[in-house]
């Protein structure tokens, strides 16, 4: 039976009777570590004239063929016209007398498309913005349209002012909407995707932080610095002044023009921070002013609406002031000392130092996201949500399904008439251990408090292994408090405690890099004022978005998305069987359908089709799944909570579909740090006492410590 092989749109010559064994798979349940493509065994392509031409004369003297290095689209058909592979990829190497070829298809296209690409390759222009107070507030007002948001949390920066209902925006970190990045990946590479998970709140309200400090004060550019000065009166009498310009002889730069030695004209719009310090030896008190765009005035009294920088400078007084301004391109600024009515003069030994920096408010998502590969991002989503990828054979559409969705399918294929014989029945799953860990990254390298594992109760397996090591950091174990509400700490600064010259405690905030966190945004209400240490504006708001870590523990992922797999693994039956598959069966193979085999007495997930050769019996791997509910997934669910708390406690009504063991009631304000609550067990409910002094959002859960089962956190507003 001959095959038809098209490489780059040209029909290739095959040896008469050429056999091409095909292995089909979408996601080997034997291994959670990766997702697999389908492939053929290596086969020979004779070096006929036609094949040599298709290969661009590869291996011929003087050839410059690119075939071994490029993507070669490839389709494989049976002689009856059944399509085995449509637009797969052929990898060609030289085998001496013939070319050697392996054909891949399935999810290989997606993984190849994003290979060696980072999130920065997506453009991300919609994420780029200037970090300003009004921008931050706008991310809260237009909550559903912008692809980024400033989510209020403790980023381990300076949050001291929150006690006075003030929020320093310099220590806020923006986050990108994960669903935006996800869509952009597929749009960028010309593919589409679907999946229930992508419509859920768990996915739609998921945000990835900018990976480093976004504090403008830490990324400023010096545009001017001088301790060279003159006092330039330009107003008689020249010995006793009413006012003087501060005058500098510094040269012009590409960021600043020094007009008339006193008007500092900026060439770029933006925020500028100007520090003025010194000590004047003056005969009378003076006032330090600044004025914008006063270049037309030679005499300071003519300058309209000067602004006080430092009121009343006494003789021989050390001073230091910082002025934060927004200047447009071409705006100038000058400083002058003035004293109405009382002329003053200078003695010797005055000191003056002026420096001006441009504050960099630009948040460069593309630059920062260069360190996150798209492959890692895809893996993060696939593992976090327990997804299997199904590629549509004839289009670039990928469907992402959980195992639960696959098992719920109404469709199945009856292979009873194709069944030949059972070769083996295995109980150990290839690469599993007893505990198969999903792990976060941690600032404390020894920590593991947000990790969780998929349990396999088989003592013959190894103790444990890591099936997924996330690039995402877990927040700190000990939460913090902002505006009276417990908040997780997403560390972007290390705090270095020191002392100043007067023995006062000082804190330096040392920025950290490459810290990716996932978090959620939750609407909150609190009247506060937003401010910055380096920008002049303030703004009040009564609402904001604060962080939530709801369902972001890997324990939640395991419970929510891996429960069916865990169930399968408890009594893992991997059947290897010989099946008579036809060309039509292979061409229309659908891994989303369950397989029913009467002789084996049940339903199976098709795990792998090994080395299919037309006209021969094929070895298939089948994973047994229980159809009926004789083995029920054990679950506890809190159905209601009543009562006002206090000494009367709260009454927790719950249902369990099995005989529960020892129960523990726990409470949490952030669903990350849980504390045991005292409770009394009654026949149909529990009465638990809440901790004193809590308010706001609070979560209750029940743990069955005997069976290692927990109820999902039940939300209360206290």
């Amino acid at each position: 039976m001959s095959l038809l092989l098209y490489i780059n749109g040209q029909l290739a010559d095959l040896e008469p009777g050429q056999v091409i064994a095909q292995t089909r798979q979408v996601n080997d349940l034997n291994s959670l570590d990766n997702r697999q493509a389908s492939y053929t065994n290596k086969f020979n392509l004779p070096k006929t004239a036609k094949n040599v031409k298709i290969m661009q004369f590869l291996t011929m003297p003087g050839n410059s063929s690119t075939i071994p290095y490029r993507e070669n689209t490839c389709s494989l058909y049976s002689h009856t016209g059944e399509c085995f592979v449509y637009n797969g990829r052929a990898v060609i190497t030289d085998g001496g007398n013939a070319y050697e070829c392996v054909v891949y298809d399935g999810i290989i296209d997606l993984y190849k498309a994003i290979e060696n690409k980072t999130l920065a390759d997506l453009g991300l222009s919609e994420l780029s913005h200037d970090k300003e107070i009004q921008t931050i507030v706008s991310t809260w007002v237009t909550s559903n349209t912008l692809p980024y948001k400033y989510i209020v949390a403790d980023y381990n920066g300076d949050t001291t002012a929150t006690a006075q209902d003030m929020l320093n925006i310099d220590y806020l970190i923006p986050s990108a909407r994960v669903s935006y990045l996800w869509k952009l990946i597929f749009d960028t590479y010309g593919v589409t995707c679907s999946g229930s998970v992508f419509n859920t709140q768990n996915f739609k309200n998921l945000w990835l932080t900018f990976p480093k400090s976004a504090n403008a004060a830490e990324t400023q550019t010096e545009v001017f610095s001088s301790n060279d000065y003159l006092f330039l009166p330009l107003q008689p009498p020249y010995n006793d002044y009413n006012s003087v310009f501060l005058d500098y002889s510094i040269a012009q730069t590409n960021l600043l023009a020094n007009t008339g030695n006193r008007h500092l004209t900026v060439t770029e719009q933006g925020y500028y921070s100007i520090q003025i310090s010194g000590n004047f030896k003056v005969t009378n008190d003076v006032i330090l002013y600044y004025a914008k765009n006063a270049g037309a005035y030679n005499l300071t009294p003519q300058i309209p609406a000067p602004v006080v920088v430092k009121d009343v400078l006494h003789n021989n007084q050390d001073f230091s002031v910082t002025l934060n301004l927004y200047l447009n391109d071409g705006d100038s600024i000058c400083f002058f000392l003035k004293k109405w009515g009382n002329p003053f003069s200078f003695n010797d030994d005055n000191q003056l130092e002026v420096s001006m920096v441009k504050v960099n408010t630009a948040v460069d998502f593309p630059g920062a996201f260069k360190s996150f590969s798209i492959t890692d991002f895809l893996k993060e989503i696939v593992h976090r949500f327990g997804l299997t990828i199904f590629k549509d054979k004839y289009s670039n559409h990928y469907e992402f399904l959980t195992l639960q969705e696959v098992l719920q399918t109404a469709q199945h294929a009856d292979w009873s008439s194709k069944f030949s014989k059972k070769l083996a029945e295995n109980y150990l799953y290839g690469s599993y251990a007893q505990r198969n860990w999903l792990r976060y990254a941690y600032n404390d390298k020894e920590a593991n408090y947000n990790d969780s594992f998929i349990q396999v109760n088989n003592v013959n397996l190894a103790d444990g292994k890591d099936v997924f090591k996330s690039k995402i950091y877990a927040p700190e174990f000990i939460p913090s408090n902002i505006f009276g509400i417990t908040t997780n700490v997403y560390k972007f600064w290390d705090r270095e405690i020191g002392e100043d010259s007067e023995g006062e405690k000082t804190i330096k905030y040392k920025p950290l890099d490459a810290r990716y966190y996932l978090l959620r945004a939750q609407l909150g209400f609190h009247s506060m004022s937003l401010y910055s240490d380096v920008m002049p504006q303030t703004q009040s708001t009564a609402f904001y978005y604060r962080e939530s870590y709801n369902k972001l523990l890997f324990q939640d992922s395991v419970q929510e998305y891996y429960a069916p797999l865990q169930k399968i693994l408890q009594n893992a039956q991997l059947i290897t069987a010989e099946i008579w598959l036809t060309e039509t069966d292979i061409a229309n193979l659908d891994f989303k359908k369950l397989v029913y085999i009467e002789q084996l007495g049940g339903y199976y997930l098709l795990n792998k089709v090994n080395n299919y050769v037309p006209g021969k019996v094929t070895t298939c791997e089948l994973v047994k799944v229980q159809y009926n509910d004789d083995e029920v997934v054990k679950a506890i669910t809190i159905t209601a909570i009543a009562g006002a708390g206090g000494s009367d406690g709260i009454t927790i009504t719950y249902v369990a579909n099995y005989a529960v063991g020892t129960l523990v009631v726990q409470g949490s304000q952030n669903q990350q740090t849980w504390q045991n609550l005292p409770y009394t067990l009654y026949s149909t409910n529990l009465v638990a006492l809440l901790p004193a002094g809590i308010s706001g959002q609070y979560y209750i859960r029940i743990l069955d410590t005997t069976n290692n089962i927990s109820a999902t956190g039940y939300s209360l507003m206290i």
Binding site: S196, T200, Q408, Q522, V625, Y627, N628, D629, S715
Partner: protein, 96 residues
Amino acid sequence: MIHELKNITPFISFDFGITQTQAAVSQLVTIWLSTLYNQEAYTFVLSAPGAVVTKITNYEYFVAYPSAGSYQVSLTVVNTEKTTNLVSNILNLTIT
């Protein structure tokens, strides 16, 4: 096991698992279905008497009530084989 998964009870909530909340008249309130179903095998019907319902997806709905009062919302998931009606928990919404 499959039978169990096919008949898993839908869980709906407002944000982050909250099952009771308050809102103003005409205010859009989002309701989320968090239980996953094979969308080729089920249909989804939100029951919110008195509300204007906007279905975003099978997993997300906006409801808005034109008048004050106490309301209940639930969701029914129907197997396309028409063999099973799976009724969710009930959400309590007070409109002021």
